[in-house]
């Protein structure tokens, strides 16, 4: 903006005639910044408008303090423990978190508003222009740097001592492999256990029950009789083995359904070869683990005999081998072959005949 740009050497910072803003401008100039427009908001001090802004600002900052204090007071004094205290305490409790949010929100908001108002209304109006220095470096610079880099190769003498270089590489490669081996090797775990692919077996395999067929049980481990499920009812059952209802056997939850007479007949009639003999009278048991993404597909509609998975809306037709009829699932829910043992409790005659849960590469 000034027509005369003194060079850095000419400038005398100790010149007493320079104002502070002159120094600021000179500093900015040296940083490639021109302050082209700079005007105080209130050239005349003490106008009504200025006092109004000051009042607003003071109010905002005092509000910040007030709300901050309110937050701390509420934090300490407001009832905050679930299910404790007398009726007043209980009535106030649900508002503990909202009160914290409201006070802290207002505290920070008024502080933020105050700072912004200060900057918008009281800081001088300013337009500054800074030069950019884009584009590639000077071509000489490029050449010099390139030479420096290339010289490193020369200094190491890789061309002359080729064998040393190769030996270094041969030595460094295993060192790199050490890092990889530690990471991969410590984490890697084959999908097999006792020689079997874990994705092919569930808790219903008799081997988890000393070779005896596994009972269908409630979550608490009590076995289930046919009389425990009404017609049109369904129940989530777990393998009757130790910890059978825990997440250790996350692939085993099964849905036992008591179909209506005619639905059961239809199911039996439509059963494909794999599922022959899996049904016991009017009872069928299907894996609860969706074949799509593994959510529990358990929204059973007892009239339409559809089973819906709430995660991605796959729908399975129970009366037709639990075949997928809608949504992204491509495979039927595996059927658990069940019967009733001598004591009148449901048992699984064997493990699922096909892998349960989401599909994977090796799945037949």
């Amino acid at each position: 903006m000034t027509t005369h740009h003194p060079s850095d050497d000419e400038f005398d910072a100790s010149d007493a005639s320079l104002t502070r803003f002159d120094l600021v401008k000179e500093g900015a100039r040296r940083d490639g910044v021109q302050i082209v427009h700079y005007a105080p908001r209130f050239p005349v001090p003490g106008t009504r408008a200025e006092r109004r802004i000051e009042r607003v600002l003071s109010f905002l900052f005092l509000l910040t303090g007030l709300m901050g204090t309110a937050f701390v007071v509420a934090y300490i004094a407001w009832p905050w423990k679930y299910g404790e205290g007398d009726s007043t305490y209980r009535a106030l409790f649900p508002y503990y978190t909202p009160v914290l949010g409201a006070t802290l929100g207002l505290c920070l908001l008024s502080l933020g508003l105050g700072i912004v108002v200060w900057s918008k209304k009281l800081l001088p109006e300013e337009v500054s222009i800074q030069e950019r220095h884009d584009g590639p470096s000077d071509s000489t610079e490029q050449v010099l740097t390139a030479a420096t880099i290339l010289n490193m190769g020369d200094e190491l003498g890789l061309k002359r001592r080729r064998f040393v270089g190769l030996a270094f590489l041969a030595g460094a490669a295993p060192l790199g492999a050490v890092a990889g081996a530690l990471l991969v090797g410590s984490l890697i775990k084959a999908p097999t256990q006792d020689g079997e692919n874990v994705f092919f077996t569930t808790g219903w395999d008799p081997k988890h029950n000393d070779g005896k067929p596994v009972r269908l049980t409630h979550e608490d481990g009590t076995p289930i009789r046919p009389a425990d499920v009404s017609v049109g009812g369904q129940i989530t059952v777990f393998p009757g083995i130790p910890h059978g209802a825990t997440n250790k056997w996350a692939d085993s939850p099964t849905l036992l359904i008591h179909l209506r007479e005619q639905d059961a007949e239809l199911t039996k009639k439509q059963a494909k070869e794999l599922n022959h003999g899996s049904q016991w009278q009017n009872f069928v048991a299907y894996s609860k683990i969706c074949t799509h993404a593994g959510c529990p597909a358990s929204l059973y509609e007892q009239q339409t005999n559809r089973l819906l998975c709430p995660c991605h809306q796959s729908q399975f037709q129970i009366t037709d081998n639990a075949r997928p009829i809608f949504g992204p699932a491509s495979r039927a829910l595996p059927q658990l072959p069940i019967t009733v043992d001598d004591e009148g409790y449901f048992i699984a005659t064997q493990d699922y005949k096909i892998p349960v849960g989401p599909a994977f590469w090796e799945r037949p």
């Binding site: 679930y82 299910g83 209980r90 009535a91 409790f93 649900p94 503990y96 978190t97 909202p98 949010g101 912004v116 918008k120 209304k121 109006e125 979550e219 009389a227 425990d228 499920v229 009404s230 017609v231 049109g232 009812g233 369904q234 129940i235 989530t236 359904i257 529990p296 358990s298 929204l299 059973y300 509609e301 007892q302 009239q303 339409t304 559809r306 819906l308 709430p310 809306q313 729908q315 809608f326």
Partner: protein
Amino acid sequence: MTSEQSKRPLARLVPGGARAARGKLRRRLSAAVRLVAALTLAGGLYTAYAPGVGRAEETVKLSDAAANGKAIYEVSCITCHGRNAQGVENRGPSLIGVGSAAVEFQVNTGRMPLARQEAQAERKTPQFDESQAAELGAYIQELGGGPQLPSAESLDEQVKQARGSDKILAHGGELYRVNCSSCHAFSTGGGALSSGKFAPSLQHSTNRDIYAAMLTGPQNMPVFGNNQLSPDDKAAIIAYIQDLNKNEAADPGGWALGRYGPVPEGLVIFLVGIAALVFATLWIAGKS
């Protein structure tokens, strides 16, 4: 029973009438006349026999409540569920054996009488009061038996006690999550089922509504009979549901957004968070 009786005479008599008028020449000419005659006869026989059937039925002693219920039934329910609750093909199922529990649930929640055929009957303002529903229930109960509800007072008392016990409440919660939440959601707000059907919200359900729904499995809801979930289990589940719905402390984190989960949370972050902050940016960067 009744339909069998009213059909049999028709089957015997109408062909008989036609046989008497058989003649080669007159057959075609009188076809229309015979049809009208047959229809008149059938209609006449039906009206003649039907009250007789009704009389025969009345010989089964109905209690006063059931008799009142029958009167309501024959005005409001008979169109779809048929005479004596036998059901009408493609219109309404037979009510024999559903028990008073199902009737009281359907009527007290306003689902029955049905306004129109939809994917699923919706909760609406009930058309009958609770005593009328109880009378209807008594009638159906005496016709065909079936599950019955405990009295409202005893159930409410049991639920109240269950809510007072942490242990029972927690037990109800576990049962709820494994049996109910898949359709009615963790929040008890309900959820969608296939093809327009849905599991309704439980947030306005009474104790008895919930009890009856579990006991009878209305529409597509599976049946949770007393053999599967004992009355105590049911009371525990109801206690858990009512505790979530009526205990204000269940939502200590502010407005629960209907407890619909991440969908409204995502809406809030854009409609409240981002929207307000964009307004702030407009103000901050605006000319002062």
